[in-house]
């Protein structure tokens, strides 16, 4: 139907963002992780 097959790129690792950058916009973070309210009673 679509004149195209899956296009795959090479699986080459790239530099990731530091965790502290990723968490910069987090409303609440703790110990390098996103904080959410408890989900277990």
């Amino acid at each position: 139907v679509i004149p195209l097959r899956n296009v795959m790129r090479d699986d080459t690792p790239r530099a990731a963002f530091p965790a502290e950058d990723i968490l910069k916009n987090a409303p609440v973070s703790h110990d390098g992780q996103f904080m959410v309210p408890p989900v277990l009673e």
Partner: protein
């Protein structure tokens, strides 16, 4: 000397001859924005003077060292849906009011490398959903031709900014007409390239199979210059096309001739309910002009046009309902956490207060269209009709080089005129949505006035034939005066700070 009404080409000449500097260019535009915007069009969400002056100084250093990149030192404005590192990016939504990206999008980065100077971020309908900029989570923008009227949308801030001479170019995004329609309503050029031509990496997503970034400018040549800087493959965007990018300025001819160019006039784009007589008259006279330049005209049918709106309002909301699930009040958006609230409460309260009415409407529509039991009847059916709409164009392009018609059925309408009736608002995009569903490039060029307000001529091309579209638009522009008309706000003087 006032520099704010000039084309990019004219600014380049002055920079090359050392008759001005990138810093002076930036400051004149910033002064204009700071003294006029809040009392007129309200095009801007964020003005980045310090950032702009730093970029301008860096551009001046490159110019001093003999640099002559085509956009070096040229000021510009980005729609606030394109991420900018360290600069707030809201997508026009309260839910992202304080979001500061940690990375530039590909196009932000490419323009910075090209030496452009970003003056700020422009207002828009929330998450690019709307046709008037009245759905902005912050405030509506206004039309530089009449401040009681809308600039169109969703990229209304960018269109109004270029029409008010706040910058020689601005970028917008077009999902169902969000560049072409505000371009038409503000009397500037708005160009949506082929889907996949410009990288979407770092563009906050609305409907991923439709979204495309493109420029607003005041001349076709400027549009070609900006396309040269932003078009091309990007490994970070899996839908980015690996196709060679021509020099778009090379497609433009000094002699405005369309000899041998075959233009199709779709029956469904004329004499239809809802199109204003003044708009139709201006577009018809523009088409007569194209014929006088040597173009061969033929009437065609795009029979599935009437299903375009319905198809779009299934596919786009379906995709948005998936894309907007990421705003959960946990990772980087507005988060409302009452003491003792559960995770579910956080999701509900944050989205409930962070999203506006239109965004909620589309998330609900999209979620419904994708729900089990309705998926085949709505989403799958819409995808099939989308293919039929694309095939309509394929058939026409076997014989014709481009399709021409109106961009929008109306001129700019008064603020508030359509906010209570979503369907009336959706009808603005009647002529732009089929192009979006088919992934084709389309431009709107100023082509006349109706009741003193700008009318846009839409030129739709074959996939990846941006050069052909620009060539036709340029021939039209070079042999008419419509693009030289200046809006009342453009004629206002700035006060220097």
């Amino acid at each position: 000397m006032s520099l704010t009404g000039l084309s990019i080409g004219a600014m380049r000449d002055l920079l090359a001859r050392r008759q001005t500097s990138a810093l002076e260019l930036a400051r004149q535009h910033l002064d204009r924005i700071e003294s006029l915007d809040s009392s007129t069009v309200r095009a801007m969400l964020t003005v980045t003077r310090e950032h702009a002056e730093n970029q301008a100084r860096a551009a001046d250093a490159r110019l001093q060292a003999g640099g002559d990149a085509p956009l070096l030192g040229i000021p510009m404005i980005l729609k606030d849906v394109l991420t900018t590192r360290g600069i707030r990016t809201t997508a026009g939504s309260k839910i992202l009011e304080t979001f500061v990206p940690i990375e530039d999008g590909t196009i932000t980065r490419r323009l910075a490398e090209a030496g452009t100077v970003m003056l700020g971020k422009s207002n828009m309908d929330e998450f690019a959903m709307g046709s008037s900029t009245e759905n902005s989570g912050f405030f509506p923008s206004r039309n530089p031709w009449d401040l009681d009227r809308v600039p169109g949308g969703s990229s209304g801030g960018s269109a109004a900014a270029v029409g008010a001479h706040f910058a020689p170019f601005a970028l917008g995004t077009d999902t169902g007409g969000s560049i072409r329609q505000p371009g038409a309503l503000c009397g500037v050029i708005g160009f949506k390239p082929t889907y996949g031509r410009v990288s979407r990496y770092g563009l906050i997503a609305f409907a991923s199979s439709l979204d495309q970034i493109g420029p607003f400018t005041r001349t076709v040549e400027d549009c070609a210059l900006v396309m040269n800087a932003i078009a091309g493959y990007d490994p970070c965007d899996s839908t980015s096309l690996q196709a060679p990018v021509p020099d778009y300025t090379a497609a433009l001819s000094r002699v405005p001739s369309l000899k041998g160019v075959r233009l199709a006039l779709p029956r469904e784009y004329f004499n239809v309910q809802g199109i204003e007589p003044g708009v139709e008259a201006a577009v018809k006279s523009a088409i007569k002009h194209l014929e006088s330049l040597g173009a061969e005209l033929g009437e065609v049918s795009l029979p599935h046009t009437r299903y375009g709106l319905a198809t779009y309002y299934l596919i786009a909301p379906a995709e948005c309902s998936a894309n907007l699930a990421r705003y959960d009040g946990v990772k980087y958006s507005l988060s409302i956490r009452e003491p003792g609230a559960s995770l579910w409460d956080v999701y509900e309260r944050s989205r409930g207060e962070g999203f506006g009415r239109e965004v909620k409407r589309r998330i609900i529509l999209g979620t419904y269209a994708l729900s089990s039991g309705y998926y085949d009847a709505y989403y799958l059916k819409a995808q099939k009709v989308r293919t039929l709409i694309k095939q309509d164009f394929d058939t026409v392009f076997e014989t014709y080089d481009a399709v021409v018609g109106p961009t929008s059925p109306t001129v700019a309408f008064p603020l508030g005129a359509k906010t209570q009736d979503p369907l009336a608002m959706y009808l603005n995009d009647l002529f732009t949505i089929p192009t979006s569903l088919a992934g084709l490039p389309g431009i709107s060029v100023p082509a006349g006035l109706s009741s003193g307000l700008p009318v846009g001529l839409q030129i739709i091309g074959k996939a990846l034939d941006e050069a052909g579209v620009l060539r036709i638009a340029h021939a039209f522009e070079q042999s008419t005066d419509w693009h030289t008309l200046r809006s009342p706000v453009a004629q206002m003087e700035a006060v220097r700070s």
